[in-house]
Symmetry: C2
Subunit: 182 residues, 2 copies
DNA sequence: ACTTGCATGTAAGTGGTTACATGATTGG
DNA sequence: CCAATCATGTAACCACTTACATGCAAGT
């Protein structure tokens, strides 16, 4: 979905700031994987305030710059629920690596090995992250459901790459003469 | 990646037209899941021709409008390979349904059941599509690798939803009085 | 008569990202 | 002294989507 809805969903759970919302998405607890930058979050929050979906208060901090804490309003909650009731957009999976993988036969073996390892590392990291999220907190039941879905999917993805990456690497071009160079 | 690279990747395998490229993506064989509309494909092809990455020839057809068949050039092949050698963008998975799922406790049971079913149907369809792609054609080894990855992931995704969707539905709001209405 | 499929393309709009601007404080 | 973290925001840019414009032929 869009950043607007993302903001409402986070504020639905409790007060937050633009900075924190961004952190939640990038490093974050957001198990359903979405990313947003400041350049989209701050304008979205400002617009939501304009529309009366959220309110803000400035909270000074000692040693740190003041922060603008946003809270969702009744209208905001209603708008969010209405949004969820509307037909959902399609789920999309975009993988530059899988495009890369289709052309390993024209690429040097070394590069393929490196990219495959990087892909595996990212899968492993995401899986580990979800395992952690599960173990840590007493999240509510639906959050748990979402995390478990993610765990299941990431689990096989990681395992599949781990056990089959060498097959992909073997399809790559013979590495350009390394010994001959020296 | 971007539409430009997408076009090069398809033309790398053989001649094609803007119309066909779009069909390949939307309905298509493109196992690594990407979508693009005419509004992005046609300009991308025109620009690639400007840059000498592709050439085109107009092919009249009887009963159908003439089509513009594009072919990749040596420069195009080189540019594509160079593109693949560059650091890959991150794989991203965006699921409106998983956002929806986190808030089932504030949504009517009927709606949740419907959306969950729709989600399952889409998973099943995608999985079936990959199974078909595998069975059908004598695709090359790297394409097969990519399809197998997709099959593995889609397989568990589908199965997980199938076996656990009722748990999610049970978390929904009690359905608003239906019998009382009449 | 109307819709669907084939086929190409443009213009306007959207929903973002990247980079910049600012500034205080803490830690290496 | 420099980098990083906290914190907010804007402006320029980008890729892509949606809707429009055009047109012919075959099927219903």
């Amino acid at each position: 979905m869009n950043v607007r809805t993302l903001c409402l969903s986070i504020l639905y759970e409790g007060e937050s700031t633009g900075y924190e919302i961004r952190r939640l998405c990038v490093e974050g607890e957001c198990a359903y994987f979405i990313e947003a930058s400041y350049g989209s979050i701050y304008p979205a929050l400002a617009k939501l305030e304009d529309e009366g979906m959220v309110t803000s208060r400035v909270e000074p901090q000692n040693g740190k710059p003041a922060k603008k804490v946003y809270s969702i309003t009744a209208a905001g909650r209603q708008a969010f629920a209405a949004q969820l009731a509307e037909p959902l957009g399609e789920d999309l999976f975009r993988s530059p690596f899988l495009l890369f993988a289709r052309y390993v036969h024209i690429l040097p073996r070394e590069l393929v090995a490196q990219r495959a390892q990087e892909f595996l590392d990212r899968m492993t990291e995401k899986h580990r992250h979800l395992e952690e999220a599960m173990a840590e907190r007493g999240s509510n039941a639906s959050d748990t459901w979402v995390i478990n879905f993610g765990r299941a999917v990431m689990g096989v993805a990681q395992q599949h790459v781990q056990t089959h990456m060498h097959e992909l690497i073997d399809l790559a071009l013979a590495e350009p003469n390394k010994d001959a160079a020296e």
